[in-house]
Structures are given as C-alpha cells and as structure tokens.
Subunit: 325 residues, 2 copies
C-alpha cells in the first residue's frame, strides 16, 4: 500500500505546501483513492504517477474549503479527459451540494457517473475489490471523520504438504485454490480453498485522520492499525497561544496518543503555514518534528508535498523514491 | 499599466500553464485587479508581487470552471489573512451563486464585504479612482464578456507660461492646480485647474477578452485601445479539425482581426493544453505564434505563466523582468 501527499498545509497554500490531499494506491495497477481534495489537487497530480482516469473513489474528511475546493476542477478535468468509469464521492452532504452547484453554475457536465455516498451515515461502510473503508467520528469545528483503509483479498499460500498428502497433483486446480476458489474434481470430490491454502500475514491497515483536536477518539480504530496519518497543525506552545477555537491537534498531543496506543508508524501532516522548510527560517517545521520525536518511539515521518511512502507486507513503512518528473 | 499572466491554459492546467487568471496593476502602489480566477490562481499569486490584501476588484468574463473555480479559495485565503477592505466581484449571476454556495457549504465566512456587481447588466460600468471598466459581449458557448480597462486621472502638466503671464507665482497654488483642484486666492480670484494645466497624453486602454469565437465583436471596443489580450486556443488547422462547437478563436482569426482594426499590441493566451513549450515537443506553441506572426504586423506576444508586461505612457508594450522569486 502506497500513499503520496498532494498537500500538507493547513488552511492556505504556501510556496512549498499545497492544502490537503492524499493519494492512496492499492489493488490493481494504477488504481488509487483520494482522501481530501483541496484547491490545486489536480495540479499536484500532474507531478505524480496518478491519473484521474484510474481514480476509484474520493473520500472527504470534512467540509472545510482547504479539503474540498479542488473537487470541481478535478472532476471536470476527468471529464475533459473522457473518463467514462463511474467515480465514488464519499463525503458529507454539504460537499455534494457544493459540487453540484459548482458544476451547474459553470455550465459543466460530467462524462461519467459520480456516485455519491454519505460519509456521515450511521451505517457507513465502503469497499471494492481491494480495500474496505470505515469512518471514525473526530472532534473539530465541523463534523470530521478519519477513514481507515484495510486491504482485502490477501494472497493465499498453498499448503503443499496437505495437497500432496491428499493426492492432489500440481496443475490448474492448485491455481484455482490459490485464488480462493473451490475446485470440483472430475470424480466429484470438492477441494475447498480454505482447506488447502492459508493467509499467512495480517491485512495492512492505514488510518487517515481529518482535522481533529482529540486523537484519543481514534483509540479503538488504531488498535490493529499499522499507520496513523494525522494532522499536527502546531507545536503545543503555538497551540496554547492560538487557543482552543480552531480545534486542531498539537504535535505533542498526537505523538503522546500514538505512543500510548502503540501504533508502529506515525505520519504528521496539515502544518500551519507559519512553519517553513528552510532551516534558516523561523518558525521552522523542525520544531514540530522535535516535539513529536520526544514523545513517540515508533517510526515517525513529517509529510512533505509529493513525498511517497510504502507500507510493505512486512508492515514496515518506508519512503519511496519520487517518480522522475 | 502592468499585467501579469497567472494562467494561460484552456480548460485544464498543465505542468507549464495554469488555467486562466490575469493580474492588472494600475493606480496606487500595489493596487491591482484580477480578471478571471481559475483554480490555482491564489497559488500563482504566491510567485508574484501581488497580494490579495491589495486586490481591488475581480472581473469574471464567463462562468466556465477554468475561469472561476479558484474564487472560493482566493476569497477565503484573503479572509484568513485578515482582509477588512471590501472587495468587488464583477461577474455573471451564476458565479455569485457558486461563490455563496462554496462559502456556505464549507462553513466559511469572509472577514470583509464582497460587493457583487452583475457584469451582464445592460448598464454595466465600473470605476474607481484609477480605472474605468466597460464590458463588451462576445460569442461563446455561454455568455462571455471582454473587459476594457481605461486609466483615469492622468497627470496634468502646468501651463507655466500662462501662470506667469497671469501673475500666479510658484507656490502651493501650483501644486493644487496640478492635482486638478481649483484654487481661490486671498483676493477672491478663482484659478481654474483646467485653465492652467493640460493633459498631454492619451489615457492608456487595455482590452481583456473572455472566451470568444468572433473577434470582430471587439471592433468598436478596439478602436482607440492600445493592447488586446485575447484567447487563441488553437491554430486554424486544429480549430477546423475540432469543429465549431467549443466556440474558441484560432490564432489566425485573432491576428487577422487585430491587423484589420489596427491595434498596436496583441497578446495571445488561453492555449489548448496540447501545445507544449519545449521546442522538441509536438504540437508546439511556436505553431500558434507562427500563424499569428504571418498575419499581424503589430507587436505580438504569446503569454506565458507569470510573465509580465508594461504598457508604458508612450503606449509601447514591453515585457517586465520577473520579480525575484
């Protein structure tokens, strides 16, 4: 499972960081999912390997503009490219109204079906062949969600000793069983895939938080997850000075939570535009990093625009080289 | 009068070109106007000297998304920066509805007043201390306008011979007269500014077209104008192949019109995303340029993102160096 940050700035874009967007890739080659879609998300995609033609679904954590204003442009660009495959939009209801008004009032129509799903419905659950997605309510100025992506259809290992012991010779039946399908032999015997194969690893699970001032709300969600991607808008000192109103998390809050819940990988993002990348600038993003490092002993990354990470099958999270641009 | 292209691509952004936006600067230092606001306009501004804090008015030529989808982000970013000065939005009515829905559905409010003006009203006319703006209807798939910016309050030259002949000594009265204000002397004599000063040059006038497949509609508008900024989405050969439906102009159409109407400066923009900047690529933007050069003998520029031009008082148009970035 790979993910690429399309934007890592809170509220407004800066020269170095766009507003929020995350591309998550898993399943069939080039298939991917988009979590949040701030203005300029389609521009950022031009610098990645991801195309709106292979986008499977868009998940919007909450209605704020820095997470949604890129939707009309991305959707109409997909249409201008001639997309015909339906696209899922999983979002709060006001986002649906915003998109419909943007399209209608700009004389736009889409060449494909936009399948809207209410992310805030009590029974929310979404899946396709590759992932299942659940939502966890968070605490923010507006209703906000974390989305948890869990991989499906893990590869099966053939239990060769058992197959040989039962006299099942290598051949097409082995392939069928490995794909999870039961086989009926010519003599009528049924070979059950579950009996002759085993799944030998955990499904990978990534939690992508929306804006949130209370990471503890993710305690149950994070129990068997491998990566938490969460906002850390400020250091604690700045958060105290700004006050409670914006309802964002400090790096200390998130790091302390991640340490307590024992999640092995933490990626912080959604930084206040005051934090700069240059080591000479003040305030510098290194302050946010230092605060988290002091409180969390797992693998920590601070997100940067267009940087990618891979959650390997062995459950380690490592940076990916940037695609040739 | 200076202008900077914030986007020069038609329909969708490319790596080299954003969708449409033009910053026009005139009047008080740093004061400027925005014509069209495609997605990512606020991002482009980060690479110019223009700040949304000094933006006086936004003019939208037509409702299409590549000219409007940047509005919600630009307006809310101005608010997050703490803008309090009212801002004019001159646009077709559906754009007002789009902006209001975007703000309302993203739980956004503005820290300043957005003063909406219907650009399509029959009696449309807008002015401030520095410019007057008129609109000319164009021909496109949706209602579209060109906006003409004419400078106001030109500097006055003192008619020193006349002042001295009438015994008006150099002093504060001279300054008042030069500012266009009449002066009442202690003896009750009224000195009329119009009598003792003269405006010795033409007001500069720039026509900024929206999408349009019939440049001839600008014939009257261009009579005493100095610069025409107009779309040239394709070469004639591509336009013929694409067919009439998109209702765009070819470079040949615009160049032929500009030559016939005798406008001294022509800047082409809004190029189909198929045209590339690299000389090795095909099709290349040089094809569009070659087509226009062959038909127009005035000063011709093909717009590029973040390139700036100045219309000098002597009515020559010349490129400006890019600001240090």
């Amino acid at each position: 499972m790979d993910f690429t940050f399309l934007g890592t700035s809170a509220g407004t874009p800066t020269k170095a960081r766009n507003v929020t967007g995350l591309a998550l890739m898993h399943g069939k080659p080039k298939h991917w999912y988009l979590i949040d879609c701030g203005e300029g998300t389609q521009h950022q995609l031009l610098h990645t390997r991801h195309s709106v033609m292979q986008l499977q679904a868009i998940f919007i954590t909450h209605v704020h503009g820095d997470h949604t204003f890129g939707l009309p442009g991305l959707l109409t660009s997909a249409s201008m490219l001639g997309r015909t495959e339906p696209l899922f939009l999983v979002a709060p209801r006001p986002v649906k109204t915003f998109v419909e008004t943007a399209l209608g009032n700009s004389d736009s129509s889409l060449s494909y079906e936009l399948k809207y799903i209410d992310s805030e419905a009590d029974e929310f659950y979404w899946e396709d062949d590759a992932v299942e997605v659940m939502a966890t309510p968070l605490s923010h100025r507006v209703s906000s969600r974390a989305f948890t992506f869990t991989e499906k259809n893990l590869e099966r290992q053939l239990l060769k000793d058992r197959l040989e012991a039962d006299g099942v010779e290598p051949g097409p039946a082995w392939g069928e069983l490995q794909q999870g399908r039961d086989v009926v032999l010519e003599n009528g015997t049924v070979l059950r895939s579950d009996q002759y194969t085993a799944i030998t690893r955990q499904p990978r699970k990534i939690v992508v938080g929306g804006d949130n001032d209370n990471p503890e709300l993710l305690e149950a969600t994070c129990q068997d997850a491998h990566v938490l991607i969460h906002e850390a808008t400020y250091t604690q000192e700045v958060a105290d000075r700004v006050g409670a109103w914006p309802q964002h998390s400090s790096a200390a809050q998130v790091a302390r939570f991640a340490e307590a819940v024992g999640i092995p990988n933490l990626v912080l993002t959604h930084f206040s535009s005051r934090y700069q990348l240059s080591r000479d600038a003040y305030p510098h993003i290194g302050e946010v990093e230092a605060e988290a490092t002091g409180l969390y002993r797992g693998t920590l990354y601070l997100a940067r625009d267009l940087h990618s990470y891979r959650l390997h099958k062995d459950l380690t999270l490592r940076p990916e080289p940037a695609p040739g641009d």
